[in-house]
Symmetry: C2
Subunit: 332 residues, 2 copies
């Protein structure tokens, strides 16, 4: 009974005075095993939030950026956006009889996905353009929402939105509770992510940065709309991530989270400022609960980044060792 009273008193104290030190006694990262990554996260957050700390950062400048594929949700055996695109090809095929004879569509309609992926980036680019354009921005948003609410992953048989990483959801919430503003900075399509990010990550559309195609203003039935064009606007990867962060956010982040070489420059830029910066790589090491891949993977390859993390002393999460659970349903 005494313990309960103390707990209530402590909680009340935290709610009123918001002391991060005391709040820490309630574990904000329960799905993280006690290890170096968890400790380094808490140490960093304490350093930038305690008013007396030499590394204190005002709340307005506490910008944290997260890659999406492989960092906040899974990305194997291929990016989830590609599953969406392949499903769209089948839906749109009746309107495109020419696809029966034309690659990469012909292979795809015969379910030869490997052949398409072997066609490399050009084939993938053509598929994305064919399936992501022609609609208004509002129509496309609805198409994405509908797909996300029904499509299932081929091996886990779960909704793609259920394949987010539970430890990262806790990390997002922990950072926000400590005054951070959390952004997604992903190579994925900005309008493919936005319909869902608020619901699954608590990140509103205006805090999502991604690749994009061009749009065009039109009046349709007397109403102004934006129509999506089959033309690349911006590819948000590698150095592009810095350009986009500068363009979109206008501040250098103090914390960056990624899992592939495409995140390397973002990490360097975040940790290379004159003030304290935090960079964390997720290393996919768990072939049983998720997937194990790094240096040689064509999806989410992590090679140079793994070496640079060593040199720079960045935090590296070993998924198998550091995470108690991977997906939210495992908690249940």
């Amino acid at each position: 009974m005494k313990r309960t009273l103390l707990a209530v008193f402590t909680l009340g104290f935290v709610l009123i005075f918001g002391s991060p030190a005391i709040a820490e006694t309630i574990d904000s990262l329960p799905s993280w095993n006690d290890g170096k990554p968890k400790q380094s996260i808490i140490k960093f957050v304490t350093k930038v939030t305690e008013a007396s700390s030499p590394d204190f950062v005002p709340p307005a400048e506490r910008i944290a950026v997260f890659d999406n594929d492989g960092t906040l949700w899974a990305e194997q055996p291929m990016y989830f956006q590609l599953f969406f695109a392949l499903d769209r090809i089948k839906v749109l095929a009746p309107q495109h009889p020419e696809w029966k004879e034309k690659e990469p569509f012909a292979s795809l309609l015969k379910d030869n996905v490997e052949d398409i992926l072997a066609g490399g980036e050009d084939a993938i680019f053509e598929i994305i353009m064919a399936t992501h354009s022609g609609d208004t921005t509002e129509e496309f948003e609805k198409i994405v929402r509908d797909w996300m609410s029904t499509a299932k992953h081929p091996t886990t048989k779960r909704l793609f939105t259920e394949m987010v990483y539970q430890p990262m959801l806790e990390l997002l919430a922990y950072l926000r509770a400590n005054g951070f503003k959390t952004f997604i900075v992903s190579g994925g399509g900005i309008e493919f992510m936005r319909p869902l990010t608020e619901e699954i990550y608590g990140i509103p559309p205006e805090q999502v940065v991604g690749s994009s195609i061009k749009t065009k203003f039109e009046i349709q039935d007397g109403k102004p709309v934006l129509v999506r064009l089959p033309e690349l606007n911006f590819l948000n990867d590698n150095e592009g991530k810095l350009v986009a962060i500068n363009q979109h956010i206008g501040r250098r982040p103090i914390a960056a989270f990624g899992n592939s070489d495409g995140d390397l420059q973002m990490m360097q830029w975040t940790s290379g400022a004159d003030r304290l910066g935090f960079a964390l790589y997720i290393h996919h090491t768990d072939a049983d609960r998720e997937w194990a891949y790094d240096r040689k993977s064509s999806i989410g390859g992590l090679d140079k980044g793994l070496d640079e993390a060593q040199v720079m002393g960045w935090t590296v999460v070993d998924m198998k060792q550091d995470w108690k659970v991977i997906y939210p349903h495992e908690k249940e």
Copy 2:
């Protein structure tokens, strides 16, 4: 004494229950005369914030977009960014001996500003590129801050940052107090605005959308930086404003504020959704306290917009009639 107690009780009630109807009894827009614009603003805000209203909009979707030049601060006799560029030409001239012979720089160095403006958009574009590139993003931010803290307007002799519109500052604060997220969507340079918007408008850098030049990732002295290139990335005007809002914010605004034909499509898009949308034009009618200009002005021209506002029933602010004061210092 009773009145005081009642006031304290009412304030306490408002603080605790946050009732917008009662909060209204404290005037949030004291620099606005009681007229149609003020009434239409309050009516709109009440409609979208009262939970029982058929036009209720959840806080996360309460996006308000503001043009900057001529809407939040003055823009005559030319855009303030152009004063900055002309001052920079003089600072940079010793490094560019060729400018003595080369237009538009030669005229400018002889203070023939009219000749340059007569040279039209091409001359202005050349001046902007010459003065806004070459530095890293962090160096440029400092240059802008330094200039803003010392440069004075030629006729008012005030700092440019003192030439913001007091009624608009109140409007920004009023909207935010009602759960709106306020964004700038301006034709001005995004990195020219960002260093100051938080301080002068309470709008953080990540909520500023503007025109931009390209940037390039480089390692300088072992540190990653972004260098500004003399190449246009995006011109944020007319239809471009919609493209940028979609790209940057990812939601259709429910309120738009502007003062020129360059804001017209943004107004149409905001007010043309299936749900309630609010569009407000500021009409510069006060030659004594500010400037009077509209249909034929080369800076901030308002012609088609004025007609469209009439047809669509948008709110038009007559600065002379509707605003008690223009600039903050007039309150003192």
